[in-house]
Amino acid sequence: MAEGILEVNDSSFDSDVIKSDKPVLVDFWAPWCGPCRAIAPIVEELAAQMGDKVTFAKCNVDDNPVTPSKYGIRAIPTLIVFKGGEVMEQITGNVPRTKIEEALKKAL
């Protein structure tokens, strides 16, 4: 697991993400997905920069089918920014880092 990134699963999602005091960015990914592996270093960079204000988490959709289907996720990588348990922004695909930064700033 990358440093500064919290691994979340179907059973910990509620306590780690929904009930979190801080905004949480969840990176929904799977090992079979090339673009997911390619976007991971960008998320890690952002975690190093903004980890004090935002919790960075990742959820393996292969091992955790319940959470992705709850949020209607049918494509990965999907990044969701949660604040107070609510979905602030849902971003799908390989996007520029600036787009993720903007979504995070809105949640702060």
């Binding site: 090339g34 270093p41 390989n94």
Partner: protein, 309 residues
């Protein structure tokens, strides 16, 4: 010259940009590779590359990109995760504008690639990530045991439809013509696959759904007959658009927006070169991108030597 002046700036870190980086670094040039999203480009979505020479058993796009990236890093290539906002190629020193600073260079190689074209039908934007997809390797596992649609008739559409059948129970392949453009070996595989039903002469007119996508509306362009397909996913492979927004009218392009180059991969601007899918080229493959890039990097090297002497 300042710290932010380079012999060569390479825009884009797909197979073309990475190859240009390898050649330019080995030539001893001061270079920087700029990538807007993540290293790899379109090849990342390819599940299996069978026609790139040297890998008789084939390999995934991710594995090929990782190998190219580590080869580039081995030769000291630096890759920065930065988006180019605009360029100014009017003077002898080329300017490349990033969100927070401007870099200058004697030469530039544009290897910014292309992106999947959208259908432009109602509902498409709304269901991106919720049924609309362009990446079968990423998203096919979400459709295990389900019915999906795929749109297109070229190599990508056919190859990816075949991949979808590993998960989906049925794939409707929707194609606007009465024959496929895909290469013969792929066509043979598609015709032999009983999970794929081809809807010839057909176009998608609309997608819709309640929570996620659940319907695709199709029209036969010859008979005008319409049909509603109950599917949970719609994968689109209907061609590509060049990633050239940041260029404005800095270099000459063809009617499709792809960059025009000579045999040395030089664009309409001396010192600005191009490689890969963003170029006006008859074939877009990893093999052609790396070929373009090797030529572009050597041409850039010669150009820089000339300017310095």
């Amino acid at each position: 010259m300042s710290d932010t002046h380079y012999d060569c700036l390479i825009i884009g870190a797909g197979p073309g940009g990475l190859t240009a980086g390898i050649y330019a670094a080995r030539a001893g040039m001061k270079i920087l590779l700029l990538e807007r999203t993540s290293v790899g480009g379109q090849i990342l979505v390819t599940d299996f590359i069978e026609n790139y020479p040297g890998f008789p058993k084939g390999l995934s796009g991710w594995d090929l990109v990782e190998a190219m990236k580590s080869q580039a890093e081995h030769f000291g290539v630096t890759i920065e995760n930065q988006e180019v906002i605009s360029v100014d190629f009017t003077g002898p020193v080329k300017k490349v504008n990033l969100p927070d600073k401007t870099l200058t260079a004697t030469s530039v190689i544009i290897a910014s690639g292309a992106s999947p074209r959208k259908l432009g039908v109602p509902g498409e934007q709304k269901f991106i990530g919720k049924g609309i997809s362009t990446c079968a390797t990423c998203d096919a596992p979400f459709y295990r045991g389900k019915v999906v649609a795929a749109v297109g008739g070229g190599d990508t559409a056919v190859q990816e439809s075949l991949y979808l059948t590993k998960f989906a129970d049925k794939v409707y392949l929707i194609h606007r013509r009465d024959q496929l453009r895909a290469t013969k070996i792929l066509q043979d595989r598609v015709f032999a696959n009983d999970k794929i039903e081809i809807l010839w002469d057909s176009v998608v007119t609309k997608v819709d759904g309640l929570f996620g996508l659940d319907k695709v509306f199709v029209e036969n362009v010859k008979t005008g007959a319409t049909r509603e397909l109950a599917v949970e996913g719609c994968f689109m492979w209907v061609g590509i658009l060049p990633n050239t927004d940041f260029l404005g009218d800095a270099v000459a392009v063809d009617e499709g927006g792809f960059i025009i180059a000579d045999a040395r991969m030089q664009t309409s601007v001396p010192g600005v070169f191009v490689a890969g899918d963003v170029r006006n080229t008859p074939l877009r493959q990893v093999a052609t991108a790396v070929g373009d890039a090797a030529i572009a990097a050597v041409s850039a090297e010669h150009y820089v030597e000339q300017v310095k002497s």
